[in-house]
């Protein structure tokens, strides 16, 4: 009898925790206001990335088709590899003006403007160097110093000539809109949502996030930021509405060279080498997706000190910098919208 009682206790101890359920950082998904809205999602592989768009609507419309058409159209004109794109036409017609679409003209003009305000930290003419490193093909290699010096002679955004809807670059130059195209595409998709009177949408273009309005229950969208040295974990969550949040980091695309060093895809136009000035990731938050996309690259190239100065001088954006010591710096305008995770702490940029 005694033995039976002991066994009963053991079994009881085993069964008790199994029946419990764990709820950590979770909320019930079903909200009353969502019942009248349909959730629509769109998944597309375009611009060399996976795009996922989610929106909420109470009507039957062809919005998904419009979004897909816009993405495919913008990819067809911005692609650096597609034969018939505007960018290929410019790159194959060097030394002469090439007529381009309004969108290409608008985006190249914007990229040149941002190159100027960032003193060349963003430069869409760096493509020949990017190609030499193998980041466009996956055939990675470390170019020689001489090759880089030679290629750098054929770069410089100042050499892009703009006239009406025509663009000209010098011989041996090539441009690539990879640093700005997804931000611009996100802005155009937001325009479609506004025209369709859709007030709740989350656009994720391969890590470039843009939000429209709030969630259907009126709460803000929560966008988490990856830990750049352990990308399965997050460092913080930012609550947003009607804003883009775009991150650039060396961890996104890199290769390990024969010398054992890590070489990432964000190149410093002034040296031709991967930018390595103390930053692991740069996140820009703001209303203008094109600007956020461009500045995430430009501030990464600037490095920690210059990026802090730039961030504190531009109130139209909010910035999160993570340096190589895993110190996190944020702009003052973000402090009420950010929640740190996993014991990370942040410092305000002065």
């Amino acid at each position: 009898m005694k033995k039976f009682t002991v066994l009963l206790i053991i079994v009881g101890v085993m069964v008790l925790p199994v029946g419990c359920s764990q709820k950590k950082n979770t909320v019930t998904a079903v909200k009353a206001t969502e019942n009248t809205l349909k959730t629509e999602t769109l998944d597309i592989f375009a611009m060399d990335t996976y795009m996922n768009i989610k929106y909420f609507t109470d009507k039957d419309s062809d919005c998904s088709q419009k979004l897909q058409n816009e993405i495919e159209y913008l990819e067809s004109i911005f692609s650096v590899t597609a034969e018939n794109s505007d960018i290929s036409a410019i790159n194959h017609n060097t030394g002469k003006f090439t007529a381009v679409s309004d969108d290409t003209m608008s985006l190249v003009e914007r990229a040149v403007e941002i190159s100027e305000i960032t003193e060349g930290s963003l430069d869409i003419t760096v493509y020949p160097i990017l190609k030499e490193w193998g980041f466009t093909t996956g055939n990675y290699k470390i170019p020689t110093q001489k090759t880089l010096n030679d290629l750098r002679q054929n770069t410089g955004y100042q050499n892009i000539a703009l006239e009406d809807n025509k663009i000209k670059i010098p011989e041996n130059f090539a441009i690539d809109l990879g640093a700005v195209a997804k931000g611009y595409t996100g802005d155009k998709l937001c325009d479609i949502f506004r025209k369709e009177n859709i007030t709740s949408a989350l656009i994720n273009l391969g890590g470039n996030v843009q939000t429209v309005g709030t969630k259907p229950d009126g709460s803000l969208w929560n966008v988490a930021l990856k830990n750049p040295i352990d990308t399965e974990k997050e460092v913080c969550v930012v609550s947003l509405s009607d804003k883009a949040m775009i991150t650039s980091g060396g961890y996104e695309r890199y290769f390990i060279g024969e010398d054992g060093k890590q070489y990432w895809h964000i190149l410093d136009p002034k040296t031709g080498y991967p930018s390595d000035k103390g930053l692991l990731s740069v996140t820009i938050i703001g209303e203008d997706g094109t600007l956020c996309d461009a500045l995430s690259t430009a501030l990464f190239v600037m490095g920690e000190e210059k990026a802090k100065i730039f961030a504190s001088a531009h109130n139209e954006i909010a910035v999160i910098l993570i340096n190589s010591h895993m110190e996190i710096f944020i702009t003052e305008n973000l402090k009420d919208h950010i929640q740190m995770l996993n014991d990370f702490r942040c410092q305000i940029i002065a």
């Binding site: 002991v6 085993m14 419990c20 764990q22 592989f45 996956g138 988490a224 949040m245």
Partner: protein, 123 residues
């Protein structure tokens, strides 16, 4: 009670205790109701409940096959024929809205479920 009998009972209690803790921990780590949705080129191929262990072979685009494993409440790509292996390197995912992407195979494995995390998306 004899010494040998006592040792037997103590060993049994320890063994059962360890088994109980192991079962409890593995059950607790599974978020009931969550499942992995596998999409190829935007089309849903299958839905795999995270509570059921299984191995599934997925035929992605460009003749790339992926071996997808659901185990201990999470899902991961054990093997892919793709050249970059980024999907394999991603490791296990178990939270709603997390995903594994294989660009060459145009395949996405995404966690969905009745419970959602505080986070809507990760960048």
């Amino acid at each position: 009670m004899e010494k040998r009998q006592r040792i037997f009972w103590i060993s049994l209690i320890i063994l059962l205790g360890i088994c109980g803790i192991w079962i409890a921990v593995s059950r607790l780590s599974v978020r009931e109701g969550n499942y992995a949705v596998v999409k190829v080129d935007g089309k849903i191929i299958c839905q795999l409940p995270l509570a059921e262990e299984r191995v599934v072979m997925i035929d992605g685009k460009n003749h790339i096959r992926l071996k997808v494993v659901v185990d201990r409440g999470s899902v991961f790509v054990e093997h892919s024929d793709c050249p970059d292996k980024i999907c394999e390197q991603k490791g296990r995912i178990d939270k709603v809205n997390e995903n594994i992407i294989c660009l060459p195979a145009r395949t996405v494995i995404e966690i969905q479920g009745t419970e959602v995390d505080m986070v809507d998306v990760v960048v």
